[in-house]
Amino acid sequence: MQLLRGIAFLSVASFPVHEARARQAEPNGDRKDHMAPNYFNEMFTDGAIRQPYAGLESWQRGMPDELRNLKQAEAEALFRRIGITFAVYGEGGDPDRLIPFDMFPRVFTNREWGKLSRGVKQRARALNAFLADVYDRGEIVRAGRVPARLVYQNEAFEKAVVGIKPPRSVFSHIVGIDLVRTGPDEFFVLEDNCRTPSGVSYMLENREIMMRMFPSLFRENRIEPVESYPEVLRRTLASVAPQKCDGEPNVVILTPGHFNSAYYEHSFLADMMGVELVEGQDLYVDGDYCWMRTTEGPRKVDVIYRRIDDAFIDPLCFRPDSMLGVPGLMNVYRSGGVAIASAPGAGVADDKAIYTFVPEMIRFYLGETPILKNVPTWQCAKKDECKYVLENLHDIVVKEVHGSGGYGMLIGPRATKSEIELFATKIRENPSNYIAQPTLALSTCPTFVDEGIAPRHVDLRPYCLVGEKVELVPGGLTRVALNEGSLVVNSSQGGGVKDTWVLAE
């Protein structure tokens, strides 16, 4: 499992996208007319300061370089002391590496957030309705709105889950929606994350550290708090306890272990929620239930918030060589002895081919108009669209349908000729494994750099919680591409994080 799965890459900007079309048959338009980069600056527009950032102007001006360096060092020391570090698989180097923290906050007005929030919740509801449907009668497929092949032949479609109805019919309890902004009112969903989106600990710790270092900022600006997230998460998880559970449900977080790059987050959330952090070896199945090994003997487990992938949950059901899961767990799950969040199989809703159909899901299940736009996407599985993609590889971004974390993708404007040729061959060999998107003009937010303050590109991941209710804490994780001109916010490639503010009304 990758930390920050799926929000690794933001596309490279070459022109602004004017309109997103949900199911674009021929997304070819007159694209070449808008080649000049024209990035939306979230703080300064036409030389004037946009209202949400008004409160930061004097703060930033009143900070001489020495003070700024001092504060930056203080922030880093705090992160290190708390132990928020991040290890990237296979990269070697310092396992205690920090994700760089930028002190300049990213700000949304209440009105902006209101729209985002409604859009994110709408999407989370639709994605869950879709999951409940495809593991049941598959009405959306029968209605011909989503191709059967994309669902039932999807790698992430778990046959073992068909017919299981999880409590409250919720499959994805924590939905991370990756958003980018291209204008004052232009937001696009880049990707949905229905499995186990990570990074929420940064949202909470970034805020904690900002409040510690700049208390006056929080007195002068009215900023919506995010600290209720762990409590809401706990309530959400408890609300999906199986019917067989009587009394207060025993909720646990299942981690692959302390060598995992996101272990800090697992332990942080367990701590903040006041629940046990378990590994596979701490659990076992006996009879109709799952138990954990405690100093006082076995204790029944009711809800498992798992931070391991489907394939590792139960070696008897999925990968037989997995040491991370619990043998027999799927049987207990199937018979309603334990709830698993996110439910096994939830991944079928968040791959890049299904992504295209989310607006369709919103219309189909909810009867609503999608509030958030999709980035127009070409399906290489479709002949005419594939042809277009192959002709325009140097302009666009190509992604593997199941790829995540910025792996297995081509960034046309940045690629060499041979890389493009290599990708063209791969696409021709297996077209349905690829989708393509135009490059986006991501918004920028002022960021502290060596020379002072400069605009840098940002994205946003809010975390929507789905249980008895659908809830969204006002905030999220803003990632920032710290290198000048870069649109890659991946932490392994010079990306950092920022505190994200939503101003109170």
Binding site: R81, H258, D282, M292, T294, T295
Partner: protein, 317 residues
Amino acid sequence: MLSRTADNLYWMGRYMERAETMARLLHVGARMNLIPDTVDGFRSEWVSILQASGTFAAFDKKYGEPVERNLVSHLFFDRDNPSSVAACIATARENARIVRTALSAPVWDALNEAYQELKELERTPRSEISITALTEWTARHHALASGALESTLLRNDGYDFVHLGFDLERADNTARFLDVKYYVLLPDAGFVGSGLDNVQWQTLLRGMQMHRAFHWAYGGEVTAAKIADLLILNPACPRSLLTAVEEAVKHLDRLAKSYGKSSPAQSAAQKLLNELSQTQLDDIFDEGLHDFLDRFKGNVAEIGTQVSETYLIGAAA
């Protein structure tokens, strides 16, 4: 609590304690080496330190020559030696990291800070750090961490497991400390009770920072018998074997009470405590100090095994 959590807490306690012991042993060795040799060809005191630490064979294989520089590497910095101060701090911190949910933030802060500073130390040229500084650094961080534990950790079963780790490790370590004198060969029997013999005993006292407590408790001349009494049988001495076992009994009792179930470790520890409280110093010297300590270490190890079997493995019902 999760058995694995209890296991991590217990070993966190053990490694914290062991880190301090190793630093103190290093200090004792350095000090003994400052005492002038009286006889030609007298072996380095470092060997006795290595024997007591239980890592002589590993040292001999990797370093050979028992000179100060190698000893500092081996006992303080070498992560290949699982008992070196650096390895102990890293392991204690890793155990803490795994069970952060069961610790208070100040405890984690203290251990993590020690670890971060350790990495600084590792980068510092060796010529710029004295053994005294290393020992004091280790003792200070031990004090910070255990202080944070005492003042902020919830007094639940987790607290008891950390303390069991401390107590059993301390019992074992004090016994090892005392045993240093067994390995320090006096040039011949004529030196028993001589000035050199006493100076070595005093160095041990200093190594445990017990020399002033000694004067308060016993006064008068420093003799081997008084020191052995202080470190083995005196219930007022925080490092004595008796105190360590007494504390272990206390925490095992608390666990048994809160779980509503007695344990084999509890009765074994109680038995050892009863035995110690009835022991006279003469009995120990009659048995032979080294043999007594060996037997004691065996008893403590046995209690450790029982703790593990009852609480830390988490057998299914």
